[in-house]
């Protein structure tokens, strides 16, 4: 490898802001985490869609605020505040921030499932969101 290519590569890698990531990175990470418990695991958009719409023993489902079409805007069930679409194909800001992804999965899973989500659940939901509008 040429030194100049190496330097260019290093510059590119270090110029990315800390915590920057894309939807595919999150999918890969959650899938990887899920595989450490279940080596045969593969994320499934269809399973993610069903899980997104299903009740999980609490008052709210994902769809309560994000609607059954995450390619469209949602509305907070209590406050009525608009929620931007969840699908990254429609809203490029989605699934790009470590901090934001960690925060919202933590909070919303506690509201919807009553606990934090497993890596497998997150992988399926991310796979589902990624393929909307593709």
């Amino acid at each position: 490898m040429k030194i100049s290519t190496l330097i260019a590569g290093l510059l590119l890698a270090t110029s990315l802001p800390a915590g920057a990531a894309g939807p595919a990175d999150f999918l890969q990470r959650f899938e990887g985490e899920a595989r450490s418990a279940d080596p045969g695991f593969a994320a499934s958009p269809a399973r993610g869609r069903d899980w997104f719409a299903a009740p999980h023993g609490q008052d709210w489902r994902c769809t309560s605020c994000h609607t059954a079409d995450p390619g469209k805007s949602g509305r907070h069930k209590v406050t009525g505040k608009a929620i931007e679409p969840m699908a990254p194909a429609v809203n490029p800001e989605r699934l790009t921030s470590e901090r934001s992804v960690a925060k919202w999965f933590r909070r919303n899973c506690r509201d919807v499932v009553g606990r934090e989500c497993t890596a497998a659940e997150k992988a399926d939901v991310v796979a589902y969101l990624i393929q909307i509008g593709q």
Partner: protein, 174 residues
């Protein structure tokens, strides 16, 4: 002409900035009637606390009330609104610095958690005031008294001046 103007402008800008800094911290107050003149909302506060609802002006609750709200974010009116410790600390400090000076305690002496429960809010938003009716807040166009932006069209940016109030007409729900 150009150069003279430039230094004059710089001077004026500095003077105005100094006035802004001197006046604002003390100036964040609700007039007794309706107009609000407050500091612009902090960007982190706006991002974090404005995600699910309007980022309410800090001056509308006391330090004690905001402290209680910040302590209870893991169960924030029934939902998990917890923050990472660093963000929480920054927002706590902002609320502490910009909280209202009037007390916002309930009849039981405990700090109120909802702005809509304060005496000030109830007085300003009682039926008959500013064209409000007893059913205004429950109309589908409004939904709840916490939905400031339904009538205060500048609320998302922290503006509550009387000129920006427009109560939606019944039946205009999306």
């Amino acid at each position: 002409m150009h150069t003279m103007n430039r230094s004059f402008r710089q001077h004026m800008a500095l003077t105005l900035a100094a006035m802004w800094i001197t006046v604002l911290p003390a100036g964040a107050a609700w007039a007794d009637d309706d107009d609000f003149r407050g500091a612009p909302l902090d960007p982190l506060y706006l991002e974090e606390c404005g995600a699910c609802h309007v980022a309410f002006p800090p001056a509308l609750l006391s330090q004690r009330s905001w402290g209680a709200v910040a302590d209870g974010l893991a169960d924030h009116f029934g939902t998990d609104a917890s923050l990472d410790p660093e963000t929480l600390q920054t927002i706590r400090r902002y609320l502490d610095d910009n909280a209202g000076r009037r007390r916002s305690d309930g009849a039981d002496g405990r700090p109120l958690l909802r702005i809509t429960d304060t005496r000030w809010f109830r007085k300003e938003h009682r039926p008959g005031e500013h064209g409000l009716r007893s059913d205004t807040f429950s109309r589908p166009e409004v939904g709840s008294a916490a939905n400031c932006a339904a009538c205060h069209r500048g609320a998302e940016e922290g503006r509550y001046g009387e000129r920006e109030i427009r109560i939606p007409t019944p039946g205009s729900a999306r």
